[in-house]
Every structure is written in C-alpha cells, then in structure tokens.
Symmetry: C2
Subunit: 349 residues, 2 copies
Amino acid sequence: MAQSPDNDGDSRPGANRIVLAHGGGGELTRRLLAERIVPKLANDLLAPLADGAVIDPPPGRLCMTTDAFVVQPLEFAGGDIGRLAVCGTVNDLAVMGAKPLALSLALVLEEGLDLDLLDRVMDSVAAAAAEAGVVVATGDTKVVEYHGAGGMTITTAGIGTLPANMPPDAGTIAAGDAVLVTGLLAEHGLAVMTARKGLGIRTTLRSDVAPLSGLVAAMLAAGGQVKFMRDPTRGGLAGLLADLSEQIGRNIEIDEQAVPLSPAARHASELLGLDPLTVANEGKVVAVVAADDAEKVLAACRGRALGKAAAIVGRIGQVSNWPLVELLTAAGGRRIVQRPYGEELPRIC
Amino acid sequence: MAQSPDNDGDSRPGANRIVLAHGGGGELTRRLLAERIVPKLANDLLAPLADGAVIDPPPGRLCMTTDAFVVQPLEFAGGDIGRLAVCGTVNDLAVMGAKPLALSLALVLEEGLDLDLLDRVMDSVAAAAAEAGVVVATGDTKVVEYHGAGGMTITTAGIGTLPANMPPDAGTIAAGDAVLVTGLLAEHGLAVMTARKGLGIRTTLRSDVAPLSGLVAAMLAAGGQVKFMRDPTRGGLAGLLADLSEQIGRNIEIDEQAVPLSPAARHASELLGLDPLTVANEGKVVAVVAADDAEKVLAACRGRALGKAAAIVGRIGQVSNWPLVELLTAAGGRRIVQRPYGEELPRIC
C-alpha cells in the first residue's frame, strides 16, 4: 500500500478528510450520505434511499448510457469532475435524440480526499443536473485506501425517453451531406491539460463542459434532416470522423479553415504539440445534416448560447472500400486525418 | 505518481498488460473494445456501439439502481469482481421486486492490469448476466495510470420493470411479522477477507455471490405478504436491521441460534475477530413477511437451490421512540445489535 495522505497522518473521523470508515456501510457511511451527499441532490426519486429508484416513464422506447470519469485534476477552469459526470451522460443521451429522464451517480472516493472538495463537487453535480433538467435518482458511494490515485472517480448512467424518429439514422447519409460542429473545438482537453501542475502554461482557456439537451432539441426542431449526431469527447473530431467514415464506408472531407478554434486553443495546442482535432470536447456536437438543410440547422445552433460559434466544417464524400477522412489545409494541401493511436491526453474525462 | 507495474518495465502495447494508450479513445481503445470486451457481451442492444442503447420496455414503472465495485482481491473463492458487479445490481433490482431489463457496465482499468485477468473478469460478467437473464446494453472503459490501487473497479447500473404491487411496502410492517433470511450469512465477506495475501487463513469458504431474481420471484409467487426485502451487503444483517428498525420505528428481535451460519464462517469470524452479523453477503435476501405467511414463503425459499438454508431468524417488535435491534443469545441473554460504526472489511464489494 502507498503512503498515507499528507494531512499530518490525521485520519481520525474528526479530521476534514475521507477515511476508510466512511465506506464501511456503518454509521459513518450513513452520516456521509445523510449530511454531505443526499441533501444536495434532493428529489422525490432519491428520497426513499431504497436499493433502487422507482421511475414512471412515459410510454415508448428508452435510451440508456453510462460513462466513467477519471479526470485529473478534479477541478479545472470551467468545471470539475461533478459537472463533467452529469454533462457527459446527459450529452450521450442528447446526441441519441433522447430526453434525459434520470441519472445514477456512483462515487469511488479515495481515503484522504478533502471533504470540502467533495462538497464542491456535489454542489456542481446538483447545479449541472438542474441545468440539464434531470434528477439523480439513485447512487452508491465506496471508499478505497490511499494510493495517490487522484482522490475520486465518478460513474454516471442515464436513461432518457426516445421519440419515434430517433436516434438519427446514419444509414441515410449521402454524398454532399454537411458536417457541422456546434462551436469552438478542443477547449475541454486543453483546459484540463493546462490545469495540471508543473506545466506552467498560463492560458485563458476554460472547459466547454455543458449539458447539450437544449441545443440538440433546437437543432432537431429546425426542421432539417439530421442524420447523425455525436459528441466529440476522447479522440476529438478526428477520432469521431474516423469512426464515422468506417461505419458508413464513405470518405469525409474537412476544411481546416472552417474548423472553429479559439486563438487560445490554437496557441495551447502548439505549445503542447497536440493536434486540436484529436483533443477532447465536452460541450460540442458533431452532426451530419442533409446538404439542403445545413444552413437551417446551423442557424438554429447559432441562435443558442452554446451554439454561437457553430460552423459547417466539411462534407461527406463518396463510397469507398478504404474510407478516409481528409483535411483540406489552410495552405491548400490535403492530409489524411488519422484516428489517434493511443493516449494523447490521459485522464482528460 | 507511484512506481510502474512490475512487468519488467515493459508497458509496450505488445506486452500482455493494460497500457494508458488503451484508454485514449484512439486505435488501441477501439481494439481493446472490439477484441476483448464487446464480443463477450454480444447482444442486440450493445451491438450498434452508439453513445447509448435503445431499449423498448414494456409499459409501466421502472426501477433504476447503481453500484460501484472496488473489491480486493479481484478474484476470490466463489467469484470475482465481474460476477459481483452483475449480481450486485441485479440483486438491488430483485429486492425492489423488479425484473432486470438491462445493465450498463463501466470499467476503470489501471495501467499494468493483466489482460488475461481482464478476459476472465469479462467472461464472468457474461456468465453472470446470462445466469440472471439480463443483457449488458451499454458500457464505458477508462484507463488510469499505475498507482498500485488494485487493477480495476467496475460500476454497473441497471433498470428493471416494476409490477404494480412492487416495491414491497415497509409501511405495512406490524408487530409479530417474521424476519427471514434466505441462507448462510457472512460467506462473501469472509471469503474475500481470507483470500487476501498475508492472512494465511486456510478455509473452505466461498463467496455466495449469485443473482437472486429467480429466488425472489419464487418468494413473491408463494402467495404470502412480503412487506420488505433487501440484500444484506455492506454492514451485513446488523446494518440492515439497524436501518430498518430506524425506518419503521419498531424494535426487532433476532434469535442467535436461528441465524444460519456455516461452521467455516463461524470459525473464520472468530479468527478474524469479526461479528458475522456485520459481515457482507452478496447472494442473500432479508425479508419481512406477515406472521401467518412466514412458513409459506420459507418453504418457497427452501425449494430453490439458492434458498435451501433459509430460516426465520426473528420477529418485528413494538413501536418505540428509540427502536433497537436485540439479539437473544444462545446462552439465554440479550444484547443490542449495533450498526457497525465504520469499516470492518475495506473493499469487500
């Protein structure tokens, strides 16, 4: 086992840190939940604290999704692991075209975690859930011994109601369809990366982490044919389009100059030697829209705060046995956009 | 950061261990999922590998639940973290009276994890899901750097369909109602504890981890009035009854001699200095049944393999402002059963 946390060796229950006993299922567990976790999430579904929540969904199909969050550091410019955990799962539902109904929240806390930090994260969970219009219906909390592994991980799962015409059908994608992104790319990954100690990078970058249900609803309400939506998290736009071109068996072409990037993101990417197309986002959607409807859906995006910097960045190409994503560079050249091989940014979400 | 895993410093992708690059969202992530995870869970809901699974539930209410699993060691007599993760969530649904419909599975893998171990755990997830008659509909996999924190944690969430008369209503519990347990207690916690290196305890104990949906269905089909069900995991029978007596504001009385305990569990508890009533179980239900129906429900339990050692262990007492759980000891005395204060057995589930 690794060394104990550096709080002067004080891991008595009185000290303001998580101790192993908080996870034992006894009196201290009861108090941790009753005093620091449940009150922040207050809602009718969670209130009975039974082994599960009772949910009365409207008739029809459901969408279910889950995500584990291991981001380091736990707090960064623009958000924290709590906001990330809620938004990540809400956004997976949103891009499937589902309306979020309920979330579950499982915490794995490391001995030594500062309870004030836990309080801030739980406040953030509550605020993000309210912003997304969803409740945390059920949860679990475990405690593990100190190993310097980062303090906490959060896993959320979510269910949402799925309208009859959802999810969008990528099988209908055709040559000429527009590839749209809803705003500035790479902000989340770069904000987390530059928040890490020791890098010494000063930047105005903030994570874009936000719940996208409202933006997606506006896009779908625009009356255009939206054929595909996904949020470009790990692997970024490059990873997403590589997956998509393989899935639909078509080339995809991207205009480098059309990709929305802030000067700060461009600068930080250069400093870190990263391709911003491969960097994670947590508040953006990539959509494929029928060519004739693209401007309409773009306008719907730009009418929302979270979609102001939306842009059409490329188009779907021909069917191919070896489908490729190609970037038309600012200099007038072409280069193949590859799925990143491995880990450019560990623990970014 | 802690030291690297002791695989001769070899963390190249070719080595048979998890490396950080497996979690980056790129090519190695794609291969890990496609080669080692998705094929084992094969089902129609998971197949599209979209951001979420599309589920078509029967009309009516749902139950949703989640659990994080941090057990150490990852494999122990009678099970492993994969079987535990599936059964834990299936059982939370079962004791709510819900029929499991779909699970989500989120893995957090530590750099250095043996891929053969991961394969065994995924086989175990698949086998337990088949045994419980439920599918893993959606999932997520993250990788964190090596800290010697134990190799992996798993978080499952589950949804199930809830019949109109479920969950059981603890509000109807009355004096004289029977407290029933469905089998031998403390087997899971003691099997995990004695599996830990360095303790040097030899025992025949095996974890009782098993999906309880079938047993619960049989209990409910017996035609008796089942007023409460819960699985006595962390905190054991003692923690569960302390919570229940507080919730219903009544005393509860337990007969020590009626509590089903194997000689091996009795022996291991004594060696470890543990009260078996506070030790975790993963394949048992505690139920409160109307007095007149108790024998009927007991017989239904005993008719199933997982309920053969079921017993009525006590009864509900009078309303009290300071409700207590009392143990009638084998020696003819009485002692108060207390909720364990903290952590008797860290990382037991």
